[in-house]
C-alpha cells in the first residue's frame, strides 16, 4: 500500500504537466499581444491599454477554462483503470485527487497574476506615475484591514474551489453510478441519468448558493470597497473600508462544513459505486 504523500506526488506530477503546458502557451501569447500593442502605440498612450485589456480577457478565460479542466481531470482520474489499480485507500486517493487539483489551480492563478504584472509594468512606468500624497495618507490606516480582507477572500476562494471540485465529482459520479445500476436499460437509463443529474444539481446548488450569496451580501453591505484605478497617468486609489466583521468567519465555517459534507458524500459514492472505466 502507498500513502497519501506518494499518491499526491504521483497525481501532482501528472496533473502539473497540463498546468505548465497551458501556462507556457498562454504566457507566450499574452506577451506577444502586449508587445505588439506597446510597440505600435507606445507604452504611455491610452491605446496601449488595448493590449492589457486583451491580456486580461485571455487570463480570465484561461482561468475559467483551467478550473473546468481541473474538475475534468479529477473526474478522469477517479474513473481511470490505470489509477484505480494503485494500492491506496479510497480516502487517500480522493483527498490527493482534490488537493492536487487545488494546488495546480493555485499555481496557475499565481502564475497568471505574475504574467499580468509583467504585462502592466511597461504601461505603468511608461506613463507618468502619480500617486498623490493625500491618497497615500488616507490609504495608510486601512492597510491592516485590507490585508485581513485579502487573506479572508483568498481563504474563502480556496475552500470554495475545493467545494467546487467535490460538488461536480459528486453530481457527475452519482448520476453515472445510479444510471449504471438502476434496473433500467438504453434510453430509459440515459433519461434517468439526466434527471438524477439535474435533481442533484438543483439540490446541491441550493446549498452552495445559500452560503456564497450570504458572503457576497456581507461583502457588499459591510464595506470592503477598495478600488485601484490605472490609466496612462499612473495608479490611483479610492476606498471605503469598515473592517472584517465577525460574521464573516461564521460564513467561512459554514462553507467548511459544506465542503466536509460534500467530501463525505463523494467518498461514499466513490468507494461504493464508482467503477473504473474499461
Amino acid at each position: 500500500m502507498i500513502g497519501f504523500k506518494q499518491t499526491f506526488a504521483a497525481m501532482f506530477k501528472e496533473k502539473s504537466r497540463t498546468t505548465w503546458l497551458s501556462l507556457g502557451i498562454e504566457a507566450v501569447f499574452i506577451l506577444l499581444v502586449s508587445l505588439y500593442f506597446d510597440i505600435r502605440y507606445g507604452f504611455g498612450s491610452d491605446s496601449a491599454g488595448v493590449g492589457i485589456g486583451i491580456s486580461a480577457m485571455v487570463i480570465f478565460c484561461m482561468c475559467i477554462w483551467y478550473q473546468i479542466d481541473v474538475i475534468m481531470a479529477a473526474y478522469r482520474i477517479n474513473r481511470s483503470q490505470t489509477w484505480r489499480q494503485v494500492p491506496v485507500t479510497a480516502g487517500n486517493f480522493l483527498t490527493a485527487n482534490v488537493l492536487t487539483g487545488l494546488v495546480t489551480a493555485v499555481i496557475f492563478a499565481l502564475a497568471n497574476l505574475l504574467i499580468f504584472v509583467i504585462v502592466l509594468l511597461p504601461f505603468i512606468f511608461g506613463g507618468e506615475m502619480r500617486i498623490d500624497s493625500q491618497a497615500v495618507a488616507t490609504f495608510q490606516p486601512y492597510v491592516s484591514s485590507i490585508i485581513s480582507w485579502g487573506l479572508y477572500m483568498a481563504l474563502f476562494a480556496l475552500v470554495s474551489f475545493i467545494s467546487g471540485i467535490c460538488f461536480w465529482l459528486l453530481i457527475t459520479e452519482s448520476a453515472s453510478v445510479l444510471g449504471d445500476f438502476l434496473p433500467l436499460k438504453g434510453r430509459t437509463s440515459k433519461f434517468a441519468k439526466a434527471v438524477i443529474l439535474l435533481a442533484l444539481l438543483a439540490l446541491l446548488s441550493w446549498g452552495s448558493s445559500s452560503i456564497l450569496g450570504a458572503v457576497i451580501r456581507m461583502v457588499s453591505n459591510f464595506g470592503f470597497d477598495f478600488n485601484f484605478v490605472i490609466d496612462n497617468t499612473g495608479l490611483h486609489t479610492s476606498h471605503t473600508d469598515l473592517g472584517l466583521p465577525v460574521i464573516s468567519w461564521l460564513y467561512m465555517l459554514a462553507q467548511i462544513v459544506y465542503v466536509a459534507v460534500l467530501w463525505a458524500a463523494e467518498y461514499f459514492v466513490f468507494k461504493k459505486g464508482v467503477e473504473a472505466k474499461k
Binding site: 500500500m1 490505470t82 489499480q85 453510478v177 449504471d180 433500467l184 473504473a276
Partner: protein
C-alpha cells in the same frame, strides 16, 4: 496457501446479469487459464477481483485480504494505459509505475523491455498494437505481485513473439505467485498451464487441473471445444 478465494459472487449491471454465483479458489504458485466465449464474464471477473468493478455481492479474498483497497497491493493486472497520452514516452510510464507501486523492479523492467525489443525513449503513440501489449506485459511482470491477472494479453502480438513471451513468463513470475491468463484461444498457453477455469453462462462451469484434462482428452483445446459443440 490460497491466492484467491471467491464465494457466491454475483454482479449485475442495469438489467443484465454479468456474473452469477461464482465460487472459485486458486492456490498460490499456479498458472491458471481463464477461458470462455466472448461476453462470458472473464474480464468482469478480473475487474471484480482487482476492485475495479463495484456493487457486486459475495466475497472476494486475495491472499486472505477481503478489503477492496488493501487487496490491490497483491495484484498486478494488465491495463490499457489509457491514462497516458500518446505523446508520453515509455520511461514516463515506468516512472509512474515506480512511484505508485513499491514492488516495481527496475532491473526486471529493463530486462523485459530489452527482451521485447522496446526502447524506453519511444512514445506510446508510435507503438503498434502488438508493441503496446508487449509493454503492458513488461510493466505487469516488473512488479513482484502475488496474483497476476492478464486479460487477453496476446491478442495483438505476433505468433513468434507470443511463444517466446509465454515461455519467458515462467521466469518473470515469482515462484509463489499465481498467474491467471484470460483468453478464448488456448492452443499457445496450453503447454504452460496448471489449471483451467471455464466460464460459461456467467458462472464457473468447470475448474480442473490441466494434467487431468491432458490425461483424459487429446488436448486441452479439444476438451474446451467440447463445451461449445452444437452451439453457433
Amino acid at each position: 496457501m490460497k491466492a484467491l478465494e471467491i464465494k457466491d459472487l454475483s454482479y449485475h449491471k442495469n438489467l443484465k446479469t454479468i456474473l452469477e454465483r461464482v465460487n472459485l479458489t486458486l492456490e498460490a504458485g499456479k498458472i491458471v487459464a481463464l477461458v470462455g466465449a466472448n461476453g462470458a464474464g472473464k474480464t468482469s471477473l478480473m475487474r471484480v477481483i482487482a476492485g475495479l468493478a463495484k456493487q457486486y455481492k459475495g466475497g472476494v479474498e486475495v491472499c486472505g485480504e477481503a478489503d477492496e483497497d488493501r487487496r490491490k497491493q497483491y495484484i498486478a493486472m494488465t491495463d490499457s494505459l489509457s491514462a497516458f497520452r500518446d505523446s508520453r514516452k515509455i520511461k514516463d510510464v515506468a516512472d509512474f509505475y515506480r512511484l505508485v507501486y513499491p514492488d516495481f523492479d527496475d532491473k526486471q523492467f529493463a530486462d523485459i523491455l530489452e527482451f521485447m525489443n522496446l526502447n524506453e525513449d519511444e512514445r506510446l503513440g508510435s507503438l503498434s498494437k502488438g508493441m503496446k501489449e508487449k509493454l503492458i506485459i513488461a510493466l505487469v511482470f516488473s512488479r513482484k505481485a502475488k496474483l497476476y491477472l492478464l486479460d487477453e494479453p496476446f491478442s495483438g502480438v505476433d505468433a513468434m513473439s507470443r511463444k517466446k513471451i509465454i515461455k519467458s513468463m515462467l521466469l518473470w513470475k515469482p515462484e509463489e505467485a499465481t498467474l491467471v491468463i484470460s483468453d478464448h484461444v488456448l492452443d499457445e498457453i496450453a503447454p504452460v498451464i496448471d489449471e483451467v477455469v471455464l466460464i460459461k453462462k456467467h458462472s464457473v462451469l468447470e475448474q480442473r487441473s490441466a494434467e487431468e484434462i491432458r490425461a483424459e482428452h487429446e488436448s486441452i483445446e479439444e476438451w474446451y471445444e467440447g463445451f461449445y459443440e452444437g452451439e453457433e
